[in-house]
Symmetry: C2
Subunit: 363 residues, 2 copies
Amino acid sequence: MDKKPVIAPKGRQQPRVKIEDVARKANVSPATVSRVLNHPDIVRPELRDRVMRHINDLAYTRDSAARALKSGRMRTVGVIVPTLALGIFAEGVEALQNRLSESGYTLFIANSQYDQRRELQELQSLIERGIDGIVLVGASHGRELRSLIEQAGVPVITTYVAKAGGGIPAIGIDNESATREMTEYLLRLGHVRFGAIANVVAASNDRSRARLEGIQRALSDAGLALKPTQIVKADYSLAQGRSALRQLLTDHPDTTAVICTTDTLAIGAMAEARKMGLAVPATLSITGFDDVELAAQMDPPLTTVSVPAAEIGRGAADYLINAIAGSPVPRSVVLPYRLVMRSSSAPPRSGVRPARRGRRRDH
Amino acid sequence: MDKKPVIAPKGRQQPRVKIEDVARKANVSPATVSRVLNHPDIVRPELRDRVMRHINDLAYTRDSAARALKSGRMRTVGVIVPTLALGIFAEGVEALQNRLSESGYTLFIANSQYDQRRELQELQSLIERGIDGIVLVGASHGRELRSLIEQAGVPVITTYVAKAGGGIPAIGIDNESATREMTEYLLRLGHVRFGAIANVVAASNDRSRARLEGIQRALSDAGLALKPTQIVKADYSLAQGRSALRQLLTDHPDTTAVICTTDTLAIGAMAEARKMGLAVPATLSITGFDDVELAAQMDPPLTTVSVPAAEIGRGAADYLINAIAGSPVPRSVVLPYRLVMRSSSAPPRSGVRPARRGRRRDH
DNA sequence: TCAATTTCTGAAATCGATTTCAGAGTTAGG
DNA sequence: CCTAACTCTGAAATCGATTTCAGAAATTGA
């Protein structure tokens, strides 16, 4: 009376081919079949071939659960990105997956939506899945997360940053230094009235925060510290780039250079500048960060910082593969970024300190 | 002498907490601990709480390999996309992952780079991993792939298309119908000299092929069949969009409407048009496909077809969750696309059939 | 030709959690 | 007060592949 409902008999409908079935067909023991698959070289060639034929005939594939159970290795790595919507992360994940796949690993993917609590949950779930390694993004992770990882004894690496706290190794670029250089470049061009658009609303976005700090540091060093209203906070959408620029120019109409912490924001800002009738770069220089595909195709092409996302992904994969194998691994890897000067940036109108003439106390 | 090298002792360094350890601490049998975790309601409350405390104290997490082995369920789904570089796929994967995560599933991700052989390899690897369900993209898949899936007895669904061969259920939009409508719209505006830019170089890109067919069908029906030189094949990069437009206008300078099978191509085409000094939409209408974020922010905003990527991802997740549970599932789901008319398209210059005047036999 | 190696194969233990089966303990009914 | 009917817990089998250990077969050398 209390029978189980008649849904999906149990596991698979066709009772999966087991190693024993192959063994019986081939008139050998399961041990031999296993050896043919795992250490082909120690099996007599003719026997090996015979077994192989039967393996193919029966289309046998080993049960990875049983395999993982016995060997303690899942051959699986997990990655948690803030979002896949950003091309830069998608590119990194793709490179990561490709490299892992070459080495027989499979990639679990999860996304945190820039939410540390969600990141923790997803990590929990991945660890329960028995992953052999984990890739994170960014430097700021809760203590809880770090202890979870430590307890699980799983190799980790965090990406897109040059260093991270809590003894977690990192592979990526020095974000702060990149925007510092970019800012210094704009200073050299003669700009003095800056604005910054930064996607720092997500609490956990330490990359953009570092980038913002780079800007601030460079400007402070030049005695041009940004007022709070010269920094507009945004998320990572084009639309916010637009509105951020509008707000910035409302508060500071004499701005001549706008540094964005993301290409997306910069592209939004450029769109808005065009709409407002501002010539880029003649009256306004705009710079981005990431060097997405579109950056080079803009009109004018966008000055930005190129981030080696694919290299980061590959590097993270290599790191974990080595760490899992017990091979020595570097503490952290700092990859070079590249400032890409294109025509969205130029000296301010008519040489040095031009805007002075127009608006402010005219001296 | 022939000892194994001293690397990573074996599995984990800290000898993982087992269910038996918890059982011993709590003075119960492993069976009880298992019950506490899997069927809490059949264990006496006080005992349950006691066991729970020890589970937490020891930070015990069950070994998913052993669990999967016994239960035959991995609670894992795989997805193979052509590439993550396309925002449309990234968005779908993200939605897929989010929905699966809610139901306790974890997502394996792989990418095929539009290569059917690679797709097959990745699928092979996923099936060996014991996934419970698989998500594919597109309608065209080799027979080998289908038989592999069938043999494994794993539920599948393919995405971004309205239907697929080989009895594989699908969730997505009717690509051909979408471009047909788009073309008809341009015809109604009065265009007669069309060009098409299609990313059909990847052999397996059936979506774009269907889109191209939609264009051709609509034009044939209107007695305006495209000549081969009016169709430029490209991959999926902005740069190719640019060069495609240039080539198209070299061969057919009197073209008034260009239909692209991808927003990326359309955006590239618009960039090139601007560079060539062609006013959009005054002298040239351009349309895209996908409705990426940037499309609405272009100048002029791009007319395109909106694809419900997130809905596709969610739908695929729901489908598989049900199919795995043995619940009834729909054969296929056709989702509505949406034509988004923006200002990159308009009637050709000076009313109906304007270009006639300029170039051709002037009647 | 026989013994000593060497090479190869099979039987059986093992990985860790789940679940059936049966028995111990408890409560209710007579 | 004793048996009947439950409720709850534990012992042991099981999932499928891997691997150790030992023995059988083949090879080499004397």
